[in-house]
């Protein structure tokens, strides 16, 4: 196997140290490693003179390191997707952003519907003078007299984000679901180039609004790594506390939403309120329910005084007690379990092949949790057990969330009890020029990957965000195969993916 340089999570290295491979070496290096159980955390293109550099970040979860390699390409290269489905979405993104054609890609379509970043190129040869409408594209179609097509979205009945879902149905059975997104594309990755400056952190916090702390933490880790500093121990502990409270709020909300989708009222109404109570706990910490302005490169901006710490622990304890009552109703109600069990099943093999992350992967028996595998900050010393269940259905995805809620509550209590003393912030050193830093954070949806690359003067030359939703949307489409169309909302809630986190 070709040797590749190792970096730890939240470590930077000079860009020159990332080995430049030929295309065939690059492909072999990636495919060999995937065959060996590693996975693609990020795969993206960035400008490199008149060519495009392809850069791969591979996670080696067993050894807790990340492996990096890159290559150069002009207009086209042989696609990886036919050999490894994990690359599917990444290669579509590369084609859309840089006009490079991954030859042999089985389903090469845009994913966000924006013009190519290179003005002289387009993977589909589209007319540059014509506006690109989101989701106006060809769809996979099943032909036949008894087949009907159901199109859902972008405008939905509930108050959710826009996305387009196209079902090929035979009666109530779904033969195929195709998901097209892109309505929320804001161009954040491009907007923060030339930074970091005062606005950068605010941009990052809006990558996915419900994961503000997760994305802000990944950003802070990357910037700190580029300056070869780390946050103070107290700041690291507070970041972890905030991240776990974010997980508590969202997991609780998800369990309530799952109950609502099967029409089970008690859990639905209680969890709706309890999610709010957990969000209010974050507000207690920093004044904002979603943790905006809390995490910044160098540390955190709000300290936890002993008085607030007591209040916070008390609130989490009472909210958790209520959550326990509300959620246990789910497992004790046979009609609910009958709906959850066996719905939207994804096998362990498929989940690993598609590169799923987060609770969705763990519910399919894939033992994957960045907090344990590639720990950062407070998680290096204080472990949260990885929860994984083999079933792969809606029930497993719900149950994983419940186990994680219990673990997070314990973690928060222990972390606050042993909160290190000291300052909460120190001025981060300016980012080193021509360096690359990778930061991985286990947000409540799964692995968040930020890759920051600096140019001359230490300004951000390229920034790549991979939200967990980017890995998992395809998993939702696969979960629907052979299911009843009426079970789609339930499956969708069990993944609860972010539209804007995907669209960036």
């Amino acid at each position: 196997m070709t040797m590749l340089p190792h970096v730890y999570n939240g470590q930077a290295l000079p860009l020159a140290k990332v080995p430049e491979l030929t295309m065939s070496e690059f492909r072999t290096a990636i495919l060999e490693r995937i065959a060996d159980g590693r996975r693609i955390s990020s795969l993206f293109g960035m400008p490199h003179g008149d060519r495009i550099a392809l850069l791969a970040v591979l996670a080696n979860d067993r050894q807790g390191v990340l492996e990096l390699c890159r290559t150069q390409v002009r207009d086209a290269y042989p696609a990886l997707t036919p050999e490894t489905p994990q690359a599917h979405w990444f290669e579509r993104e590369i084609a859309e952003q840089w006009g490079i054609v991954p030859e042999g890609h089985p389903w090469l379509k845009p994913i966000r519907f924006h013009p190519c970043y290179r003005s002289d190129s387009d993977a589909w040869g589209r007319d540059r003078t014509r506006a690109i409408e989101p989701c106006v594209t060809d769809y996979f179609r099943v032909e036949g007299e008894e087949i009907h097509e159901v199109a859902v979205g972008p405008v939905h009945a509930g108050i959710i984000e826009p996305g387009h879902f196209r079902f090929q149905c035979h009666g109530e059975n779904v033969l195929h679901l195709e998901i097209e997104l892109g309505y929320q594309h804001r161009g954040i990755e491009r907007a923060i180039l030339g930074g970091p400056d005062r606005r950068t952190a605010h941009y990052v916090e809006t990558l996915a609004g419900d994961t503000s702390i997760g994305h802000a933490t990944a950003f802070a880790l990357a910037i700190e790594a580029l300056g070869e500093t780390t946050a103070t121990p107290r700041a690291q502990a507070l970041r972890a506390v905030a991240l776990e409270i974010e997980r508590l709020a969202n997991h609780t909300g998800d369990l309530g939403a799952l109950a609502n989708d099967v029409g089970f009222l008690p859990t639905a109404s209680f969890c709706g309120r309890l999610r709010g109570d957990f969000l209010n706990t974050t507000a207690l910490l920093c004044g904002n329910r979603f943790g905006r302005n809390l995490v910044r490169p160098g540390g955190v901006r709000f300290d936890l005084t002993p008085r607030i710490a007591d209040e916070l622990l008390k609130r989490i304890e009472t909210t958790f007690a209520d959550t326990e009552n509300a959620v246990n109703l789910l497992w004790q109600t046979p009609s609910v379990m009958a709906r959850f069990e066996g719905t939207g099943t994804i096998s362990c093999h498929d989940a690993a092949a598609m590169g799923l992350v987060g609770p969705a992967a763990r519910a399919s028996g894939v033992n994957l949790d960045v907090r344990n595998d590639l720990p950062w900050g407070a998680y290096r010393a204080h472990h949260v057990p990885t929860v994984s269940l083999p079933a792969g259905d809606v029930c497993a995805r719900a149950y994983v969330r419940w186990f994680e809620i219990r673990n997070s509550v314990r973690f928060v209590a222990e972390e606050i009890a042993a909160l290190p003393a000291g300052p909460i912030q120190q001025e981060p050193a300016p980012p080193a020029p021509d360096h690359l830093a990778v930061a991985l954070v286990e947000g409540w949806r799964g692995e968040i990957c930020h890759v920051a690359i600096t140019g001359d003067g230490g300004r951000l030359r390229h920034y790549k965000v991979t939200d967990p939703s980017f890995h998992n949307w395809f998993g939702l489409a696969m979960a629907l195969r052979g299911q009843q169309i009426s079970d789609f909302p339930l499956c969708n809630k069990s993944f609860n993916l972010s539209y804007c986190g995907h669209d960036l």
Partner: protein, 305 residues
């Protein structure tokens, strides 16, 4: 009792039926730990909708516009066939049961046609589900009615139901309970309640009845909602007549008992909705066949002995 006074029965149905929905919502709110909307909220909703304008899709025809009136008319006529205990219905003749069943069928036919008229894939799916489950629910109604006819003799619905309660104590009770159980499932199905359907969901892909009326707004929607309240009243009336021994009560207590019975049925529906999750669509035929089987058992027992 004189015949023009009996028009009070349908009049009461027209005035009181939305309260049933109000009671169900309050029970559900109680189980959800909420205070819930006022009992009169369904009335406020109806008046609000009546004051609004209607919006029609350009791809629809007159069928969509005619359907709400047809549906409401069907339900309104049905209420005139239903007795309350010893109070006979203003319209009663031999075989009016068949009229009742077919008026309900006509209302469904109008709903389904209007849904297909919109050309929406959601509404088409809803129509297909509605028709499938209606076909499976119908045997419960007719088998149960057959038990009652064997019990009381072939006459108008007022006669059939009065015979039922008068005959209590002849071993008929158990059979009536079986039929009532079967009809309660029928009530949940016909009125798109949990565990069959979810009247409160916003998820089009999971709906059965609600998805068919998505295209309605303003007064048309008010007609549809009001007709749904009447339909719930109709099925509740059948069950209350079946279970409560209204005939053995003094005449002055019959009306309060009847209304109490209606409220109890509403509470029961609310409790069922609160403690059960919705069934997977594939499982619904099983519960409908189970419900028809209850009536069938009652029929066989009645026949044998």
């Amino acid at each position: 009792m004189t015949s023009h006074l009996n028009w009070g029965l349908p009049l009461a149905a027209w005035l009181l039926s939305p309260v049933i929905l109000g009671i169900i919502n309050r029970v559900k709110a109680f189980f959800g730990g909420r205070k819930g909307p006022s009992l009169w909220q369904p009335y406020y909703d109806l008046f609000k909708l009546l004051r609004k304008g209607s919006v029609y899709s350009r791809s629809t025809s007159g069928i969509l516009r005619a359907a709400p009136a047809v549906i409401l008319a069907c339900m309104a006529v049905c209420t005139a066939i239903l007795p309350w205990g010893a109070f006979r219905a203003p319209v009663s003749f031999v075989g009016d049961v068949v009229l009742l069943a077919y008026l309900l069928g006509l209302a469904r036919f109008a709903t389904v046609l209007a849904a297909l008229d919109t050309g929406s894939s959601f509404e088409g799916m809803g129509a297909s589900r509605e028709v499938q489950y209606a076909a499976l629910a119908e045997p419960s109604f007719f088998l149960g009615m057959l038990v009652l006819v064997l019990h009381s003799g072939f006459q108008g619905l007022s006669g059939i139901l009065s015979g039922v309660s008068a005959n209590t104590g002849h071993g008929g009770n158990l059979l009536l309970l079986l039929v009532a159980g079967s009809w309660f499932v029928l009530l949940l199905t016909e009125n798109s309640r949990i565990p069959i359907d979810d009247p409160n969901t916003h998820l089009e892909l999971t709906m059965i009845h609600e998805v068919m009326v998505l295209d309605y707004s303003g007064p048309d929607l008010a007609y549809i909602l009001y007709a749904a309240a009447l339909k719930l009243w109709i099925f509740s009336t059948l069950i209350v007549n079946l279970i409560f021994p209204l005939h053995s009560l003094p005449w002055w207590s019959q009306i309060p008992t009847f209304l109490l019975g209606m409220a109890l049925v509403a509470v029961l529906v609310g409790v069922v909705e609160s403690i059960l999750a919705r069934l997977r669509l594939l499982q619904i035929p099983k519960i409908l066949i189970g419900s028809a089987t209850l009536s069938l058992i009652a029929l066989i027992v009645k026949w044998m002995g």
